[in-house]
Amino acid sequence: MKKALLLIGCPEAPAQTPMTIYTAYKLRQIGYDVTISSNPAASKLIKVSDPEKNYIQKMVNIDSFIDNLEENDFDLLVGIIHKDAAVSFFVTYYHLLNTKSMAIIFQRDQDLVDDFVEQVKENTDAEIISAKAYHNPTPVRVKVDKALKQLEGEE
């Protein structure tokens, strides 16, 4: 089974937790074993949302997990990005893993969306999905569906 690492950021954006669970679910549907890398605050939201681990089976700490991360540990890196720090984490994980990657970028402020897209574009070859969104995950979900359908078709 192919392995995907889903990297998530600070949980203060309401759309992050549902998009994490949704993306993990869709990735599993197309054949990926999914590991979530997050800080403790974000992982608590997911654990409470999915108490029987129907959607999320594996979770690791974003700070300690990176210590031993090596190239080719995963077949796919997906990052959920809505803060400047998440751009830094995604670019760092990207350079360490050197694997197929996808950045899911959203914010309520279009200038921030543009800034994050620019930084990811300049420093990675990741596929970029971006939308102006914060509370409502739908604009992001629609684009994630399209990108994952395309990913499934490529494999």
């Binding site: 600070c10 800080n39 974003i62 720090a85």
Partner: protein
Amino acid sequence: MSFCLDTYLQQSEDYEILLAQSTFKKAREIIKKRAKEVIHVKPGEKILGVRIIGVPPVPIGINKDKGTIILTYTKPCNGTAAIELPVSEEDIKQIKALNID
């Protein structure tokens, strides 16, 4: 036991926070302004026992006369900080060996 930045920041008081809860770009600017020498390393390079998180070019400031370095420190919810802390000459030598410029 090897030096660990995370433990050091929790247990010591002799470091200076030059910038807190900010962006990586602003931390990069502060390092350029406050360090006499700036080298650049790859994202994810281990500096003082911790992988450095950042967007290239990832700077490390060196103030050899003060025996300090300035580096970025990023956390998901707190953004990026720029921290100046004392290090040994041996640490500076090891850090300089990671320079990609």
